[in-house]
């Protein structure tokens, strides 16, 4: 194939459609014998994104790179074809995930301090099995508890480019200084 912008775009489209994992620009460039350069690739990706704007599949940019994914509107159709639907996570799992996402890296003890209850190993295992959290080290205190953090897969699965794109934590209503109030 000659490398006209149009043919480049068609190749990029095919590569992205064929890849189950998101592809970063640097990776996409490796596919070409003559590297079109990052700017050209980015421009073509933006054009592709626009071309797909009116379809039921969209091209998105997330932490791991660029990926085609179905739009939420078609999910009911897909669900009807699916054997099983993924279960929703319990509040305990979601709160644990939120603490790890917003306060990482944290130990199980940190999570228990914030939630005020014991954290069952199952909860942590569920999130690890999903590939959303992993152990990034150990805190150097007695017992060397594991430090958990969210993974890139977590961002990818939620369609985010970075942790900064998570919904912001609610502002603490007022700066509390009860000591001053009492004084």
């Amino acid at each position: 194939m000659a490398q006209t912008p149009e043919s480049l775009k068609r190749v990029l489209e095919a590569l992205l459609l064929a890849s189950p994992e998101p592809l970063p620009v640097a990776e996409l460039r490796r596919a070409f014998e003559d590297d079109p350069g990052p700017d050209a690739v980015r421009k073509l990706l933006e054009e592709l994104r626009a071309e797909w704007a009116h379809r039921a599949v969209e091209l998105v940019q997330i932490a791991g790179g660029w990926r085609f994914q179905t739009r939420p509107e078609v999910q009911p159709y897909i669900d009807r074809l699916k054997q099983e639907r993924p279960a929703r996570y319990s509040r305990a799992v979601l709160e644990t995930l939120a603490i790890i996402a917003y306060r990482q890296p944290v130990t199980r003890g940190d999570i228990e301090d914030i939630r005020g209850v014991t954290v069952s190993p199952n909860i942590v295992r569920t999130l690890e099995a999903r590939g959303w959290i992993d152990v990034v080290g150990h805190r150097e205190v007695p017992g060397r508890p594991a430090l958990y953090a969210t993974t890139r897969r977590f961002l990818d699965d939620l369609g985010l480019r970075a942790l900064a794109e998570l919904p912001p934590l609610a502002e603490i209503e007022k700066v509390i200084d009860l000591a001053d109030q009492a004084a």
């Binding site: 064929a18 914030i114 005020g116 992993d134 004084a183």
Partner: protein, 266 residues
């Protein structure tokens, strides 16, 4: 018989349906109480509920009233022979302690240092509430596999995997490293590791994916200065020593490659 404070039941849900308010003298089946209590994620969640329900000012909690209410719930649990989680009892003890400290007359001048005995409780309640909200917002985000799917167009042909290349230099330098190690293999004192080294060890581990090789310097970004690279190298060596990571270098001064050790992720 103990009566469950009635308004609380508004928030109890059985199979997703709210359980309506029950007349005060009606027998409450034990499993209904259980379901009600299960809607709470723990003592902080229960306290938040009590505070919000009674429209109390979280920044100025009337400790006496709140403690009484909380203890009523705990008592109800106890008489139902529900397994009373230690977490709930611990919180009960903490509430009583705060309440009594507030009753103590404080000598003038001590207030400032000691502060309000409720401060820590309020801090924890607010932090928990924020996380609770954050969890709900996270759950509202579209999730792969639930709200959208990845595409998977079939690739007509599959590529053949390329085995790694080895040349004479690789062999020569592998041997060189072996000999050098054999000479140095003598007991030596283990230095106390610095925290920054451990931190970099995690940093390296998390960037390595099973089966993939990464060039050492790419782990730290282009802006990393010499000190970072030195600490990074120490960390990499430590990981190698602990057999968590494997290191490969084609020749002296050639790029150092790191990969997860086999079995390290087991």
């Amino acid at each position: 018989m103990n009566v469950i404070p009635e308004p609380a039941l508004h928030c109890a849900r059985l199979r997703g349906e709210p359980i309506g308010a029950l007349p005060k003298d009606l027998y409450i089946p034990p499993d209904a109480l259980e379901v009600f209590l299960e809607t709470f994620e723990g003592p902080l969640d229960l306290l938040l509920y009590l505070i919000r329900k009674a429209d109390l000012d979280i920044l100025d909690i009337p400790m006496a009233a709140l403690t009484v209410q909380y203890l009523e719930y705990v008592e109800a649990m106890r008489t139902r022979n529900l397994e009373l989680a230690a977490d709930y009892l611990l919180m009960a003890a903490m509430l009583i302690e705060i309440k009594s400290r507030m009753l103590l007359p404080r000598p003038p001048g001590f207030e400032r240092e000691e502060g309000d005995p409720r401060a820590e409780l309020v801090r924890r309640l607010l932090e928990y509430e924020r996380i609770k909200q954050a969890a709900a917002r996270l759950d509202a985000l579209p999730v792969l596999g639930r709200d959208f799917e990845r595409v998977s167009v079939r690739i007509a042909l599959e590529a053949v995997e390329q085995p790694p290349e080895v040349n004479l230099n690789d062999l020569q330098f592998a041997w060189l490293a072996l000999m050098r190690r054999a000479r140095m293999r003598q007991p030596h004192r283990i230095r106390r590791e610095e925290l920054s080294v451990r931190e970099h060890m995690s940093l390296i581990l998390r960037q390595l994916e099973p089966g993939c090789h990464r060039e050492f310097v790419t782990l730290f970004g282009p802006a990393a200065g010499a000190p970072v690279l030195v600490v990074g190298l120490l960390a990499a060596l430590e990981l190698v020593k602990e057999r968590l990571v494997e290191m490969a270098q084609r020749e002296a001064l050639a790029p150092i490659h790191l990969s997860l050790a086999h079995g390290a992720d087991a």
